[in-house]
Symmetry: C2
Subunit: 421 residues, 2 copies
């Protein structure tokens, strides 16, 4: 990869796709879906070669899982492309339109961000998903996946180029690259060419990108997510929500890592611990929990801030809602937190006081998810506060433009005399 050549090509393509019709963009997405199906055997073979090479080098099992791009995952991407094609085009839509006091008509219109660089680990499905998202929002993108996935990603890059060409869009609108760390470092300096960087992967990758980049970065760190079981609830229903958040997909960022229990439920602590154990979950508890259940391990101070990403949960008894909220704001990661309560006023207070990107009432933390929230899909979950926070949809890949229509509006006295020489 020649970083400056890639960035120049992306900038040129961005100007074209920014003005592309929704029909053309959707045609490219539809053609990509067809190509994934037509070339399924080749994709699976490329992925198998990637996985074999990775296994030979002794890659960790969870990375190997992420690297996998089998026929079922291809079907899921084909479906996702159709979903993204079906989403409303954000480009050109008005966030607001108003008449100014001085009689001018104003509107704030969504326009593409420009060029987006994604840096991610393994995961060929990101190559399909991120490309589709960036294109639909009118952006050009540079996709740099992990070297473990390079055979499969290179093929997906060829398919994107073919899909774009079929829709008369520039092939450079989605560039799949496999540069060295040094070359990625060069890209991260090109703030005149690239408008946004989204790193996806472990904290090490994200920190390295954020520290090197001169370009604005939207980080996707993982989450230390909580469920608080309020007083007065049906404990079984509360536990259903906590168990769902912990057990369904323990490896994802919005999995529940810590459960806080109102002290009114203290007599039920043994039952609570047993419910986790019955679902294969190890409990690390505060002293009250450990006193009530011999199979709970004592939680250290560090546990309260730990993202386990496996079937472990930390469990603490708290005095009341405010203590729960204070715990969450102190030890949590401002990602996704839920209260189970029957009290409308306490639901309201929790929602106001907990400073997280997604705050849920009577729902599992699994619902921090663009598809569940009606965004159709998501490109990720931002853990930043600027520009995008929480699940990122198409609109988060746009910026805005103020469009003002006057009727020969001037402010000052300077005027053309109409005389001249």
């Amino acid at each position: 990869m020649q970083p400056i050549a890639v960035a120049d090509a992306a900038r040129a393509a961005a100007t074209v796709v920014a003005g592309a019709t929704t029909t053309a963009k959707n045609a490219a997405l539809a053609r990509m879906a067809e190509l994934l199906d037509e070339r399924r055997a080749d994709i699976v073979a490329a992925n198998a070669a990637d996985r074999a090479a990775a296994e030979e080098r002794g890659i960790e099992q969870n990375l190997l899982d992420r690297l996998s791009f089998d026929s079922a995952k291809i079907d899921s991407r084909i479906a996702s492309l159709a979903t993204i094609a079906g989403l409303p085009d954000p480009v050109g839509s008005a966030l607001a339109a108003w008449r100014c006091a001085n009689g001018m008509d104003a509107a704030r219109i969504r326009v593409p961000l420009g060029v987006i660089l994604m840096v991610f680990e393994a995961r060929p499905h990101v190559t399909v998903n991120a490309g589709a998202f960036c294109l639909k929002a009118g952006n050009a993108c540079i996709l740099r996946g992990g070297s473990e996935a390079r055979r499969c990603n290179a093929l997906l890059g060829e398919l994107w180029a073919e899909a774009l060409a079929a829709a008369d869009l520039p092939r450079e609108a989605i560039q799949v690259v496999s540069g060295s760390h040094a070359e990625v470092g060069e890209l991260l300096q090109l703030d005149s060419h690239i408008d946004l960087v989204i790193p996806r992967g472990g904290p090490g990758l994200i920190k390295a990108v954020a520290e090197q980049s001169r370009i604005p970065v939207i980080k996707h760190f993982n989450g230390v997510c909580h469920v608080y079981l309020d007083s007065g609830i049906d404990l079984d229903r509360g536990l259903d929500i906590a168990l769902d958040g912990k057990c369904l997909m323990p490896q994802v960022c919005n999995a529940t890592e810590s459960v806080l229990v109102h002290r009114d439920h203290a007599p039920q602590l043994a039952r609570i611990v047993a419910a986790f154990r019955d679902n294969g979950v190890t409990v690390r508890g505060c002293p009250a929990v450990c006193a009530a259940a011999s199979d709970a391990e004592p939680a250290s101070e560090e546990d309260w801030a730990t993202e386990y990403l496996n079937l472990t949960v930390s469990l603490r008894v708290v005095d009341d809602l405010d203590a729960a909220a204070a715990h969450i704001n102190t030890y949590g990661s401002h990602h996704t937190d839920s209260i189970v309560t029957d009290s409308e006023s306490r639901a309201r207070r929790f929602t106001q006081v907990v400073d997280s990107s997604v705050v849920l009432t009577n729902a599992s933390t699994m619902y921090c998810d663009g598809a569940s929230l009606g965004m159709g899909a998501e490109i990720g979950i931002s853990t930043d506060r600027l520009h995008a926070r929480g699940p990122m949809g198409l609109a988060d890949l746009t910026t805005t433009k103020y469009v003002i229509r006057g009727d020969h509006h001037v402010m000052g006295p300077a005027r053309c005399t109409g005389e001249g020489t």
Copy 2:
């Protein structure tokens, strides 16, 4: 200043002001307005001492102008505080609310950003304006003005503390500091304490802050703004708009720096140059302009990208609207650009093709202004594409939170068995 102590205090205050009522925040703004009036003589005296010291050190005249904070400017700040108090509180307002397909109710709610650091040159009025803006949006702020303004700023900081205390809000919600460059450099590393940095001043200051900062920065660079005079228009009315943008406040970022003229107006070039000359403006022109008017100076390639900030304008004849747009996208700064046209379709095309934060039709570039656009006021004009672009109002000092209400929504099969031990 002890950077970490200032940042700790700001973070603690941010938690309180994030939950403050609109009434309390407005009470602090109202008390500040009273204090500006009550302490007018002291403020003017502190500013006079700042200016005397600056003159002794031989400060440039335009910096001396910016440093000035006289009685009229105090009145303007008193009026501005009332305006900001009258604006709707963005905190808690919903950007959108919807029912998800799975029956959950979702909303995206504005919440404060947290802690904002402003680094600016001289200009005591920013100390009032930025403090009021940050507070009204529920944020704590750290205001670090230029050392030239330190006496006046220190007094304004005392008044802010008094105004906040009168409203039972923490005095540390608005901290006016006068740290060294090294101390500011330390603040810029504290990304765990500070959520956003807004530098205001010359390009050198903004670049230095952006390069040092680990915290997201919203830059306010200046503008190379254009007016394009389309074919078929009444030239005098077009010139009124160009002259207004150039002459009213040539030192501001949205002043017109370059005027593009459709070739149909070429026979009128001498008149156009004369109109500028009659208003005291020096013209640097393309060869056609220089051929038509002996008092036009030849423009160099560099002129087309120059922000003069004085009574100089560059003037170029272009073949058509697309050539004008290409010139603007190439040489401009994506800030504020205007077309004067009688054609609805060309107005529409210009608006779509010109990639600027504010695009105007038949209005002076002076109208890139929060007050004119009905935002009530502005904290600045962002030249970035992320988070905020163009005039920044109160809403741009907030982030969002997704609030989701379920009815015991779970996704997976994990359930409490209700048995336990």
